[in-house]
């Protein structure tokens, strides 16, 4: 697909919030700022609070210049500084389980994990929620672009992307606009970049109506010795800006867009958003030329330009390095020659990177960029001081300690309290909802469930993504996790699953975060890979609302505790706050990505029930757990009670069994049980394999509970008859409850004595919903 991004892109309106130099005729130099202490600056319009501005003045010992104000305002925004979340995110480090696998931890562009054989993997999920509501195509596209640059900035070759997505109510007239744009944007960018899209989620809920969650994840692979970090070391080393030219797009995006709600309840005019515009072709060239420069060991330090653009890249590189940095802003290649220095510093033009290169290697670095037709310019150098100094027309307009910009921003202890409505919500037990009374009603509700937008087949969406490019995709969408072959000789591979259930988290955020972790962990294990480490993308409402802040704090506590118990460290993550329209926050939505490693991808376990006669076993315990369930939503439009109970020890045991069974060839298919319960998993596996299933209700369990309960720590597996004894013995020996529930057979899904549904009817119900809504 050739998408004419250049011509169709909306021209970004000139942002009204850009600080003009106090006197139009005069450049606001540091000298001028010192001489004119009383000049008023538009700090409030740029999103700084009064005390934050006072602190900037205190740090500098004078008023900031317009350029300095631009830098502090974007870097101290919620999006860049994590000022509301920092105090709580520390738990991920403090409670981190010991892991030999972690090579680079939290704080870098992305964490790095050892997967053996000298390979390391970096992976991360980021949000691009607000831009994707304003301009769905470009918002989603640049979300993919940004996460991919994070991966290459670590020295890795990107090998796959995933997209956890949440949209408003499917029947709402605006949802179609957002869904179509986001899906086309992800496809338009990712497909053109040559990265297989191997997973993610699509969830609909009216709470996301005015604020979709567009999270983008990526995985990269490198050799251990190729890990690169964002730091500018070595006096005299050159700072090279390369990639796209700098334009007026996305100016102020970080401070305004990502950190404030769109509408001000006080009736003031809404701030005009500024969404960046992506060029995937430029990004593809950037990937190739960066990797070639890495391969020749030309790079000392590297940083991608994302939120806050050059402000972020220069201050972070300098802050992480040993010296200072001097930048000549005149040398930055521009798309628009009328940009002011403040705008150049704040621009979020996409597809740009910043590398620190030894002087003797600059020529070679530039030659590689030339080979790939990538514009590259030396814009500065590492100095022996500890200041970041930026010059414009020969005059100094920025003179700051980079640490105060990049790392020593404000930290807030936002007040939080358990919401007054939480108890009532939890008391509204889903167990009291009317249930199907006979087989006929069960049958009808099964069909409704698998046809509901959240449980329906999402091929209409995922078939717009290329999941095959690079030729290493072992498992992709509709499987429990995506899986990529890393080494063609040894068949070493990695798996990644992302999960999150906002309904569960709304009922209980601590449990909800652990449920997201449990599910992603289980999904990875179900493919036969061993879960190794996690990343997260925490999507919440306004941190200034104590209810939301409580949800956030609880979720982090839950996730950190869960990771410690499972032994899977958090390698990094992303926080997205202010996800709400007006006063209404989205469901707290912690999305967790679990990375697994598999020593031989040829033994991967798919979900498809493809062999007639194989035995179906349900692993784990089924209790009556309906709070937050898909059934309660689809049949009763209900959200209340407690989410399913978490048992991480059970998850670990189940994971071990699934991996062992894969290794020893005891199972031919496995599907984790999550939203929609057993019946959803069985239907998906049957449709994927094109075979039916005859199920029996085990003694002592209600057929309705068997089908729809969402008890955790469960999976359904298909066992060849020859392996039945061995598999049972293994589960018995390790203490995992295992129940034979049926056999792969025929052209129907049948629950004995209750109902049967032909596969063709299930297929129609499951596959036609999404195209009917959005096609």
């Amino acid at each position: 697909m050739s998408s004419d991004i250049h011509s169709s892109a909306p021209r970004t309106p000139a942002p009204p919030q850009t600080p003009a130099p106090p006197q139009a005729s005069r450049l606001d130099t540091t000298e001028h700022a010192a001489a004119t202490p009383d000049t008023e600056l538009p700090w409030a319009e740029l999103g700084l609070k009064e005390d934050e501005y006072a602190r900037v003045r205190e740090i500098l010992g004078r008023r900031p210049t317009g350029a300095e104000l631009a830098m502090y305002s974007v870097m101290w925004s919620e999006h860049c500084s994590y000022k509301s979340s920092k105090a709580h995110l520390r738990q991920f480090g403090e409670k981190a389980p010991h892991s030999d696998a972690l090579l680079v931890g939290i704080g870098e562009n992305a964490g790095v994990v050892d997967i053996g054989q000298g390979y390391a993997v970096t992976f991360k999920v980021e949000s691009h929620n607000h831009p994707s509501y304003v301009e769905p195509y470009q918002g989603a596209a640049t979300g993919v672009g940004g996460i991919v640059r994070d991966i290459i900035a670590m020295g890795a070759r990107p090998v796959a992307v995933v997209d956890p997505l949440r949209f408003g109510a499917p029947e709402h007239p605006d949802t179609r606009r957002v869904v179509s744009g986001v899906v086309a944007g992800i496809g338009g960018y990712g497909n053109c970049l040559g990265l297989p899209n191997i997973g993610g989620e699509v969830v609909f809920d009216s709470c996301y109506q005015g604020n979709p969650l567009v999270n983008a994840g990526a995985i990269g692979v490198m050799r251990h010795e190729d890990i690169h970090l964002a730091k500018a070391a070595g006096t005299g080393n050159k700072v090279i800006l390369y990639g796209a030219r700098t334009g007026g797009d996305g100016i102020g995006g970080a401070s305004i867009l990502a950190s404030e709600t769109f509408e001000d309840s006080s009736g003031k005019p809404a701030k005009r958003p500024a969404v960046q515009v992506g060029d995937p072709f430029q990004e593809k060239l950037l990937i190739e030329c960066t990797l070639e420069a890495f391969a020749e060991r030309l790079v000392v330090g590297i940083q991608d330009l994302g939120a806050a653009g050059l402000s972020c890249a220069t201050s972070e590189l300098a802050s992480n390095g040993s010296g200072g940095m001097r930048v000549e802003l005149d040398d930055v290649p521009l798309r628009d020659s009328t940009l002011s220095p403040e705008e150049i510093l704040m621009s979020e033009s996409q597809e740009r990177m910043c590398a620190v290169v030894e002087p003797s290697k600059v020529e070679r670095f530039l030659a590689i960029c030339e080979k790939w037709d990538v514009t590259a310019t030396v814009v500065g150098e590492v100095t022996d001081g500890d200041r970041l100094e930026i010059y414009w027309h020969g005059e100094k307009i920025v003179d700051v300690d980079p640490r105060t910009v990049a790392h020593e921003g404000p930290v807030y202890q936002r007040p939080y309290a358990r919401p007054s409505w939480q108890d009532a919500l939890q008391a509204d037990d889903a167990g009291k909802l009317p249930r199907p009374v006979d087989g006929k009603e069960l049958r009808e509700q099964v069909l409704r469930l698998v046809a509901s937008p959240n449980q329906a087949d999402k091929s209409w969406i995922t078939s717009q993504y290329d999941h095959l490019v690079q030729g290493n995709t072992v498992l992709a969408q509709r499987e429990d996790a995506g899986m990529i072959r890393v080494d063609e000789e040894t068949n070493l591979g990695v798996a990644l699953a992302t999960d999150g259930n906002g309904r569960y988290a709304k009922l209980d955020p601590y449990t909800g975060a652990q449920l997201a972790l449990s599910e992603a962990y289980r999904n990875v294990a179900a493919t036969g890979a061993e879960p190794l480490a996690i990343t997260d993308c925490l999507n919440f409402g306004s941190p200034e609302d104590p209810d939301v802040m409580w949800q956030f704090v609880e979720a982090i506590r839950g996730l950190a505790d869960g990771c410690r118990q499972l032994g899977t460290p958090v390698t990094g993550g992303n926080v997205s706050l202010y996800n709400q329209t007006g006063e209404t926050a989205v469901h707290p939505t912690p999305v967790v990505g679990v990375l697994g490693v598999i020593d031989d991808v040829t033994r991967r376990t798919p979900i498809a029930f493809a062999q007639e006669g194989q035995l179906l076993y349900l692993l784990g315990d089924t209790r009556e757990e309906l709070g937050g369930s898909a059934w309660s939503q689809v049949v009763h439009d209900h959200l209340g009670g407690m989410p399913p109970a978490v048992d991480l020890e059970r998850e670990r045991l189940l994971g071990e069994i699934l991996v062992s069974a894969s290794r020893d060839g005891m199972i031919d298919a496995a599907h984790d049980l999550s939203d929609g319960g057993l019946v959803q998993a069985v239907v998906e596996s049957c449709l994927k394999g094109g075979k039916g299933a005859r199920l029996v209700v085990p003694d002592g369990i209600d057929p309705f509970v068997l089908l729809f309960s969402e008890s955790q720590g469960r999976a359904v597996v298909a066992v060849p008859r020859s392996e039945e004894v061995r598999f049972n013995d293994m589960c018995g020996a390790r203490g995992l409850p295992v129940t034979r529930i049926g056999v792969v057979d025929g052209e129907e899904v049948e629950l004995q004595g209750q109902f049967s549904i032909p596969l063709s009817e299930l297929r129609t119900a499951h596959r036609e919903t999404i195209p009917a809504l959005f096609g």
């Binding site: 050739s2 072709f281 593809k284 078939s463 030729g471």
Partner: protein, 228 residues
């Protein structure tokens, strides 16, 4: 002697590594060619891979046609060298007028990535001799601009001369005229198609291994050419 099969990388080529792998699995020696090369480095056959050459911001393949490497390929193709264009490569071949017609935006306006059943209509081209006429194969398809169009006269001519090499079965994925998935030139050495045989060469990663025949066909053809 091992056949040397070159795969061209344009800026924006994406399936070049996949094509190189397919060449290797088929038993030939894969050779990477760069768009600025004027020499073909003694290759015996050429694959133009899928992707978005030069971003495809103009018409797909319209810029690639003018690259230095294409000038040499044009000469060699006219002299009988086997050339296969896959997806974007097919678009480049049409833009270069080595093959007639053009590829347009899918009729449903969406990018589509799925497994696609094809019928091999002509098993006599340089890239299909290892198949049999009428054979049905399944390989992945992924494109946003894969709708094959040509005027009626050209289409009639292609049909009459047996130059429709592949036809879509079980549903036309992009609105291609007469379900055409791939065509050849009159000499049978240049073949272009939208589906991706290079993604169906390993059971681990492909829906089938039925795409391998393209690459073994080229090897078979080259052997015959040497012996002729």
């Amino acid at each position: 002697m091992t056949a040397r099969i070159g795969v061209v990388t344009f800026p924006g080529s994406l399936d070049d590594k996949d094509a190189l792998r397919a060449v290797r699995i088929a038993g030939a020696e894969p050779v990477s060619l760069w768009h600025r090369d004027t020499s073909l480095h003694q290759v015996d056959a050429i694959v133009l891979p899928g992707g978005f050459s030069y971003g495809d911001y103009l018409r797909c393949g319209a810029i690639a046609r003018f690259s230095p490497v294409m000038q040499t390929i044009l000469e060699q193709a006219r002299a009988g060298m086997p050339v296969l264009g896959i997806c974007n490569g097919f678009q480049v071949l049409c833009e270069s007028h080595l093959l007639p017609g053009a590829l347009t935006r899918n009729d449903h306006m969406h990018f589509v990535c799925r497994d696609q059943k094809l019928r091999v209509e002509n098993a006599d081209t340089a890239w299909t001799v290892d198949y049999s006429a009428g054979q049905e194969i399944t390989v992945p398809l992924k494109n946003g601009e894969g709708g094959y169009v040509a005027d009626e006269r050209t289409l009639d001519e292609l049909e009459a001369e047996g130059r429709v090499v592949f036809r879509y079965l079980d549903g036309n994925p992009n609105g291609s005229r007469r379900d055409i998935a791939g065509i050849t030139n009159a000499a049978g050495n240049v073949v272009g198609l939208m589906p991706h045989p290079e993604h169906a060469v390993e059971s681990l990663t492909g829906p089938t291994t039925e795409g391998l025949g393209f690459f073994t066909s080229a090897i078979t053809t080259l052997k015959k050419m040497v012996h002729a």
